[in-house]
């Protein structure tokens, strides 16, 4: 007769909500947290800055090319004697708003295209993928330059010009996630119990496809800001509005005399996008289970 086996008792670990785990993971990434704080400061400066510092960025306030510190102007003046601090604060608003709006548009288009392609497969997928490749082939900056040139340089057009050319990366990621998830068992089970296509796509597959899409969306905000900066550097921006790239572009000829007018706005763009990239990386580590085991 054999003795009954001794099976060691294991402690049952309480399962935690995936969002809580992800948040904790993110919090451990000091660089990402620091970047998030800096970003919040920038956003606050953009929202409240112009109110608290009411100088009009277009107004001539001092002699041109005053270096930083002179005359009580923290960052000096540009070639027309305009206050650089005001330019930065107003520019922050423009960059962030366009960045967010264009990124939102890209994500919206990209997720729609990718989801439809990945879910329905067949000819729908073929057609949508060909369209995606078509947009991938056109150099994005040139394409939006053309759009702005033909339709005029206003904030809405610029936003559309950026959003309409940048969605391909999101579409690729969304499609590949959909392709992967639709084969998983819980999706099969839902389909077997009669869920409609719309429900499958939006309630079941999409929420599980979100992690890489969220990361990409965050990174897209950064690249939209860079994109807008490029366009305004080239002068393709609303003339009634100050934007960081535009400050650099218009002061470019004067770098011999006043390089700070170019380096400082560029630094602002750099820091903003850097923080967004760090946050994006942090999100990637927190949300991506494959890396969690390392």
């Amino acid at each position: 007769m054999s003795k009954s086996p001794i099976i060691p008792e294991e402690e049952i670990q309480k399962a935690r909500h995936p969002m809580a785990e992800a948040a904790e993971m993110f919090a451990k990434n000091y660089a990402a947290v620091a970047a998030l704080i800096v970003l919040l400061l920038i956003v606050l400066a953009a929202i409240f800055g112009p109110t608290l510092y009411p100088t009009d960025p277009f107004e001539m306030v001092w002699a041109p090319f005053s270096p930083p510190g002179e005359g009580g102007f923290l960052l000096g003046t540009d070639y027309l004697g305009r206050d650089l601090v005001a330019a930065l604060l107003h520019g922050a608003r423009v960059s962030i708003i366009i960045g967010l709006a264009a990124a939102f548009m890209s994500v919206f288009i990209g997720v729609t295209v990718g989801a439809l392609a990945g879910f329905y497969r067949g000819w729908v997928e073929e057609v949508l993928m060909r369209i995606t490749e078509f947009f991938q082939v056109l150099p994005t900056l040139l394409f939006s330059m053309v759009i702005v040139a033909l339709f005029g340089a206003s904030l809405p057009i610029i936003t559309i010009a950026i959003g309409v050319v940048s969605w391909t990366a999101v579409a690729r990621i969304t499609r590949s996630e959909f392709l992967r998830i639709r084969e998983l068992e819980y999706v099969m089970a839902s389909r077997a119990s009669g869920a409609s296509n719309a429900k499958l796509m939006f309630k079941i597959i999409l929420p599980n496809a979100l992690p890489p899409i969220i990361v990409q969306a965050a990174l897209m905000v950064g690249s939209a800001i860079l994109f807008e900066a490029g366009l305004s550097f080239l002068g393709l921006t609303d003339p009634n509005v100050v934007s960081w790239g535009q400050v650099i572009g218009s002061n470019r000829q004067y770098i011999l005399d006043a390089s700070y007018t170019v380096t400082i706005p560029g630094l602002a763009i750099f820091v903003t996008v850097l923080c967004i990239s760090l946050v994006g990386d942090g999100l990637n580590d927190a949300l991506n289970p494959k890396l969690r085991q390392r």
Binding site: L138, L141, V146, L150, I255
Partner: protein, 325 residues
């Protein structure tokens, strides 16, 4: 044989894409407010209604859309991309003049970024916790986050304006006298800063990907087998591991061609590099629609050709592509 078939299919597909670009071009021309006649009359200094009608007839603008599209296609097949009123020359001629400069910049930047990126990636994969590995991560972040025109300007300030190591602008110094090598050296001096600026964005991407791929590859079963065979570390890293890591990096490089051209537009503007980017910028200011669209078409062509070449290159690196398993 399979290779040839692949070349043909890819080429046909590329032609299809180009056709789509043409349709897009043409449609945008028509969607925009104002048409060719307006542009012409502007450069003429204004014209009355009768003259405008004449111009419209001349350009077949009174024909139905599809007929116009057809004749546009026809013209393009004969290498006629239209006429630029601003520069007073054919668009095709204009583009051909400026294309080599851009190609030189773009190709050199991509090759440099790939080469240095792979070297850095391999090195930091072998020493994952070393200084170089952290350097690669930081480099990746900076290169990717800094606006490329700002990087270019910073390099200009640092190396041209303050220390005069490199020229400030342009591609050649017209005053330089001498033979082939003197001129070549002059060209190289002019190329250094623009190429470094343009490759900075992508170097970051490639080195990061190469490092990640190498680290994964170095942990795989066939590397364990190679070790068990008693091969030297050099052979294991550079023969066995590297060849398996190249594929994703080359694929990425292929996908980046359109981004490289976008970056080239900005870099050319900063350094006054006489290529398609500068041309695009100037023609947008001048409202020279045929030229702008011609450049758009051409850059799409460059991207497609670049993709095609990358695709074919991949077949050499990874024997699994295109062969039946």
């Amino acid at each position: 044989m399979a290779f040839l078939k692949a070349v043909i299919t890819r080429t046909l597909y590329a032609a299809l894409l180009l056709a789509a670009v043409l349709v897009l071009n043409f449609s945008m021309m028509h969607l925009a407010p104002g048409d060719v006649a307006d542009t012409i009359s502007q450069s003429m200094g204004g014209a009355d209604a009768a003259v405008l009608e004449e111009i419209r007839k001349d350009y077949g603008l009174d024909q139905p859309f599809l007929v116009q599209l057809g004749s546009y296609f026809n013209k393009v097949l004969h290498f006629d991309l239209g006429y630029s009123f601003f520069y007073n020359t054919s668009v095709t001629g204009l583009i051909m003049q400026k294309l080599p400069a851009t190609l030189l910049l773009v190709v050199t930047a991509q090759v440099l970024a790939l080469f240095v990126g792979i070297v850095l990636g391999v090195y930091s994969a072998r020493n994952p916790n070393g200084l170089s590995s952290h350097f690669v991560s930081i480099l990746a972040l900076f290169g990717y986050s800094a606006p490329v025109f700002w990087t270019g300007i910073l390099l200009l300030i640092g190396f041209s304006l303050n220390v005069h190591w490199f020229p400030v602008a342009g591609m050649y110094d017209l005053t330089v006298e001498g033979g082939f090598f003197v001129k070549l050296w002059d060209l190289i001096r002019h190329m250094v800063l623009p190429v470094i600026t343009l490759s900075s964005i992508f170097l970051a991407l490639y080195s990061r990907l190469c490092r990640a791929t190498m680290m994964e590859v170095l942990g795989s079963d066939y590397i364990r087998t190679a070790k068990a065979k008693g091969l030297s570390e050099r052979e294991i890293v550079y023969k066995h591991a590297l060849k398996n890591s190249l594929s994703p990096v080359i694929t990425l490089a292929g996908l980046q061609f359109s981004a490289v051209i976008s970056g080239a537009v900005l870099v050319e503007t900063v350094f006054s590099w006489p290529g398609l980017g500068t041309l695009a910028f100037q023609s947008i200011i001048a409202r020279d629609t045929p030229t702008i669209l011609g450049i758009l078409f051409f850059s799409a062509l460059v991207v497609i050709v670049g993709n095609l070449l990358t695709d074919l290159a991949l077949r050499f690196v990874d024997p699994r592509i295109g062969r039946k398993g």
